[in-house]
Symmetry: C2
Subunit: 396 residues, 2 copies
């Protein structure tokens, strides 16, 4: 049995190079950017009015002019115009192009307009109320770097520079596999000795949050069937996420069948709780990774977040800084296992405090709904202290 | 001009009652639960083996028996069996139903099995390694309460109790409207005086994170067209999110047209930066709410998160606790406006520190991609101090 850190480091030795693909901008949210995004023009692309008012030629003020004949009204979307007589002005709207020969804008609030003539009350500063061409970004500047997650703000940037098609990292093809003869479908009424399939539905929903549309397969406890199906699934998928079938029972054929199929065991069983009987392997030929989680909900959910998600981020080259939370009360753990304890997080004046969620063994599904994630307590003799900062693995 | 708090409270006076709808479990992720979820049976539904090993009748140990003839092998998915002779045992696998007459399980590690007989090495404790029927939850217990967001863990609970169809709060029908003759589509090459439409694509992507498929409409600066289209849109949508057209320019027809269409102005202009020219109104007849944001990206994005999202949570009856972060360095603001400042958040040993993101005026789109949200600084004479806890509005 290896330690959690050994197991984690081993999993991280298998990032996948899945390549990139082009997607429509409207489908790019939640994906990881695979190209640097460069400004295709200056931003703003022209000297842009930032206020509604009048535009003048500043030097004309030297001749003590305070009345300006209005030559035209310019609005956003009009091509650049010209102030024909520098002693005159134009009315100009926010977003419009500053006309040639004008260099200063005075907002309506500081003018009075009567009979086609604007009078100004307050001496302006030369160049005021103009958002200068290229003052935000010069053409050619890198606006977004690859390996960023594309969110709503990034969509705005991509749209601004005309990226209607975006290069993103390809997502792994994933099959989520449940095992066990006791499982029935959600819509079925289970017999007294049966339970409904739920783990793989949770995993399916969790993967969807990362834009991954997984396929769900259920395997009965029959060695021949499992062997045939797994063999096909390994040809078709990059990753198999298996729930159940890796404890020591007589019908837990998975480790044996996986090895028969040429999947090399990287490790089986980790000194952790929950999630100890985790089996991880790799098939060299098909390049498939197999994450085989113990069958109970908390174990599966913990191992998905503890091992699979960091592997996914590594594969997508997405950086996720480590998170810490503060212990609300001291915890003493047995020194031989790394513990993942479900907690609820409260933000108290900018600090994150973790309160363990009452849980009833690893079969207790409802505790997952009540918690915000797991704290990771590595084995040590000394109790973890109240107020100590602890690594946190969010699940929400 | 009203204060931020006045404006916020006014918006919160217009929650909508949109009713509920039934969705398939596979489409329920990200939705808000509209029914209490009750256990339809005990969990676990039977006395369940938690280890692979043998099941015995504990009292038989009193007769100093340590060798048990194996009657049968029981696996998960089999109906309950019976230990026929209480001096014998059965082999039992994790997840299997404890047979009648058996009350204690001894894991394989503490037994030796030879010629159909199991010998135990270690005296067990009566009832050990059994996950008792109903010990997690009794039938009829409320597992999830309405007004929760349905995430991956909740999907697992819903599946366990057979909710293949779930009642969720209906989402508002939203139309995202851009205005302005200067805007062209993302795939177009803009002329020097034009820019690409980006704000409404950002809003569309942001809404999608909440499961809302908004419709996007672009309006040119033509009073008649705007009036006709807005009139139709108000019939069809619960909420109009408008970007642009509410400053003081001659072509900013929106406030006027909205009032002509019977939309009652609740307020226009808020003492805040960015996002000051925010117009908010309600049409009594069609029950449509109009959030009309200033046209620049940072203002639109700030007001969407500051006003619209809290309104959405209120409408969906979803509780979101207030978040706080600590100021990395002191900030002095002008005392008349509430400031929303873009920040990047760093988790330092369990505390969240906010560092302002370099921004270049409200036209600067890239700063949004570099920030994690806005801090909210209400006007005050005294500088905000380093280390002070400040309300935080996350955007990622």
């Amino acid at each position: 049995m290896i330690t959690f850190d050994e197991a984690f480091n081993k999993v991280m030795q298998f990032p996948m190079d899945l390549g990139v693909e082009a997607v429509e901008l409207s489908n790019a949210t939640g994906r990881v950017l695979a190209e640097n995004i460069v400004a295709d023009r200056d931003f703003p692309p022209f000297n842009r009015a930032t206020k509604d008012g009048i535009a003048i030629h500043f030097n004309s003020l030297e001749n003590e002019i305070t009345h300006f004949k209005i030559e035209a009204v310019l609005s956003a979307g009009m091509a650049q115009q010209e102030l024909k007589d520098t002693g005159n002005c134009v009315e100009i709207m926010t977003g419009a192009v500053l006309p040639k020969n004008a260099d200063t804008i005075i907002m309506y609030e500081d003018t009075k307009i009567e009979n086609g003539v604007a009078t100004i009350f307050k001496k302006p500063i030369i160049g005021q109320e103009i958002h200068r061409k290229g003052s935000d970004v010069k053409k050619g500047t890198t606006l977004l770097s690859k390996h960023m997650m594309i969110g709503a703000a990034e969509i705005g940037v991509l749209a601004s520079v005309g990226k209607s098609i975006v290069l993103v990292n390809k997502l792994p093809k994933i099959c989520v596999i449940s095992t066990g003869n006791e499982l029935v479908e959600v819509h079925e009424t289970p017999l007294p000795h049966q339970i409904r399939r739920s783990n793989t539905l949770s995993l399916f929903a969790a993967l969807k949050n990362h834009g991954i549309e997984a396929v769900q397969v259920h395997l009965l406890d029959d060695k021949k069937v499992i062997r045939e199906q797994l063999s096909k699934l390994m040809e078709a998928y990059d990753v198999l996420l298996v729930s159940g079938g890796v404890s020591k029972g007589k019908f837990d054929f998975l480790p044996e069948v996986l090895e028969l199929l040429g999947v090399e065991k990287v490790f089986h069983r980790v000194a952790q709780r929950p999630g100890k009987p985790f089996w991880f392997g790799t098939q060299q030929k098909t390049k498939t990774l197999v994450f085989s989680f113990p069958g109970n909900p908390v174990s599966t959910y913990a191992n998905y977040h503890v091992y699979f998600l960091p592997w996914l981020y590594l594969t997508l080259q997405l950086k996720k800084p480590e998170k810490y939370v503060l212990l609300e009360r001291p915890i003493l753990i047995k020194p031989s296992l790394t513990r993942f304890i479900q907690v609820r997080i409260t933000n108290k004046m900018g600090s994150l405090w973790a309160v363990p969620v009452q849980e009833n063994g690893s079969g207790d599904l409802t505790s997952l709904a009540n918690s915000d994630g797991f704290i990771c307590l590595r084995p040590r003799e000394k109790a973890y202290e109240q107020g100590e900062a602890i690594p946190f693995i969010p699940t929400k």
